[in-house]
């Protein structure tokens, strides 16, 4: 085990730089504490002594990189995750959406799609689905393909159903899927207004004139300066009066964009943009510090 903090950081920097230069994925500004642990797990998995050995492997073996990439990002999700968020969305956001002839929602970092379909179900129950255009994006092409299919293991149903009920769902979750063998398939009527697209919050640009951005439990994997870049990107993408929904332990408080927003729900982190501003500059993430 290398003995000093600085040496460890140097190795990690070089590893992330190698991935970026070789494959274009930029993990350099991810939150260090958990990234370090995830990479440590990979060292143990492949029985390597140090990160330098891993650098050699990812540079010379693309298959190895793909293996490791899967473990660099976290794809924890479930339908109606944090049910009370959806309840709060019904109360704090939906009434305003009702007054619009049409609106756009960007679900950034949608992972395998469970939370997208949850939002679609909620919009349906509120009679808002036909007015909505939903953009579902993720950095990881493979999870996006899963999201598109909308097929989930059947053993998740008890948890998802319980979440649905707690979220204030009006009917039964089984109204929205078909069970087949050991899977459930989400109803295709939920998919028709969703556009799935590859998008990297670290390097890519804005989606314009959104009325809602949902980005839950994604930013916790980024360091402070990258979080701030993403908040600027979101602010550029949101209309005046539009809504930003974060994970319940993510906060705008530590961002320079905080003064642009009003907090509608401090527990489930729903914000409304209440200030106009010139578009913020978004250099592709060159303020790459380990802070």
């Amino acid at each position: 085990m290398p003995d000093s903090h600085k040496d460890n950081e140097l190795e990690l920097d070089l590893f992330l730089e190698a991935i970026y230069r070789k494959y274009g994925y930029d993990f350099r500004s991810y939150s260090r504490a958990s990234l370090r642990r995830r990479i440590q797990n990979q060292l143990e998995r492949f029985k390597l002594d140090n990160v330098c050995e891993l650098i050699h492997l990812v540079i010379h073996d693309e298959a190895m990189f793909i293996e490791i990439f899967d473990h660099m990002t976290v794809n924890v999700t479930e339908m109606f995750r944090d049910p009370h968020f959806y309840k709060s969305f019904r109360e704090n956001v939906a009434p305003q959406l009702k007054s619009y002839p049409s609106f756009k929602i960007w679900h950034a970092g949608c992972s395998t799609g469970q939370e997208i379909y949850s939002m679609c179900i909620l919009l349906k129950e509120l009679g808002l689905y036909d007015k909505a255009q939903i953009y579902a994006t993720d950095i990881d092409h493979q999870v996006l393909e899963k999201a598109k299919k909308g097929i989930f293991p059947i053993d998740t149903v008890p948890l998802y159903s319980q979440n649905y009920q707690e979220s204030g769902g009006l009917y039964s979750l089984s109204d929205y899927y078909t069970a087949r063998y050991d899977s459930i398939i989400m109803d295709s009527s939920l998919k028709k207004n969703i556009i799935f697209a590859d998008h990297d919050l670290v390097t890519d640009q804005v989606f314009s004139e959104m009325q809602v951005i949902i980005c839950r439990n994604v930013l916790i994997y980024f360091n402070h300066s990258l979080q701030d870049r993403v908040f600027r990107l979101f602010s550029n993408s949101l209309d005046y009066g539009a809504y930003l929904c974060l994970g319940s332990k993510e906060s705008l408080r530590f961002s320079s964009c905080h003064p642009l927003y009003k907090t509608l729900d401090n527990k489930y982190k729903i914000y409304q943009k209440t200030e106009q501003h010139e578009p913020f500059p978004l250099n592709s993430n060159n303020e790459n510090s380990s802070e």
């Binding site: 085990m1 939150s31 504490a33 642990r37 439990n217 402070h224 993510e250 906060s251």
Partner: protein, 203 residues
């Protein structure tokens, strides 16, 4: 006199900046006993992982109980929360709590470690990584082995390590595992830990 109780003082002269505490089964009572006597001007921030079943207890309940007894301010942090003196930060249930760098926390949904999320090991290892020898790590009562590796990580970096005397723990598995793994600098009965910290952290 219990066979375990020991106390090395050479580590006490170092400059400490942070206390991390891990507790599991029986932890609420043990935490109250340690945290409630600490004065308002206690000079170090404190990070706590207390294992809880997901959704079993509203975390508001824990915070409320501890705040009722403590003079320091107990809170559940958001991601990237600043670490400040005068506060006790309790890991939210179902999130890992880590030290991102000196002065800031990070939360994560990464997989449970030894079936635990939050994991004591992750908090302790990340604290040791960022604060090096300036951390005090404390392992309390619990029915598993979480925290043993973390306490050892603090040891390796030269931080000060302390375990609750297993004879005074509601469940002794966790302090016993920590003692075996890390040979801590001090092993103290629950009732003595608070006064020890107050004396120890005075300067």
């Amino acid at each position: 006199m219990n066979a375990f109780v020991t106390q090395k003082t050479e580590g006490l002269k170092k400059h400490h900046e942070l206390i991390v505490i891990g507790a599991s089964w029986g932890g609420l009572e043990a935490l109250s006993a340690i945290l409630s006597p600490l004065p308002k001007d206690f000079p170090l921030p404190i990070l706590v992982v207390q294992h809880r079943q997901r959704n079993q207890l509203d975390s508001g309940f824990f915070i409320e109980i501890l705040n009722r007894h403590c003079q320091l301010n107990v809170l559940e942090p958001d991601d990237k929360e600043h670490i400040e003196t005068g506060n006790i930060y309790l890991a939210p249930s179902n999130y890992h709590m880590l030290v991102e760098h000196k002065g800031a926390l990070a939360l994560s949904n990464d997989e449970p470690v030894h079936y635990s999320r939050p994991s004591i090991d992750l908090l302790f290892e990340s604290a040791a990584e960022s604060y090096q020898e300036n951390v005090i790590g404390i392992i309390l009562t619990g029915a598993n082995q979480d925290g043993a590796e973390g306490l050892q990580a603090i040891n390796v970096r030269g931080g000060y390590t302390l375990a609750q005397d297993p004879a005074t723990a509601e469940v002794d598995t966790m302090p016993l595992a920590a003692i075996a793994a890390a040979q801590p600098d001090a092993i103290l009965p629950l009732k003595d830990i608070a006064s020890f910290l107050i004396k120890f952290c005075k300067n």
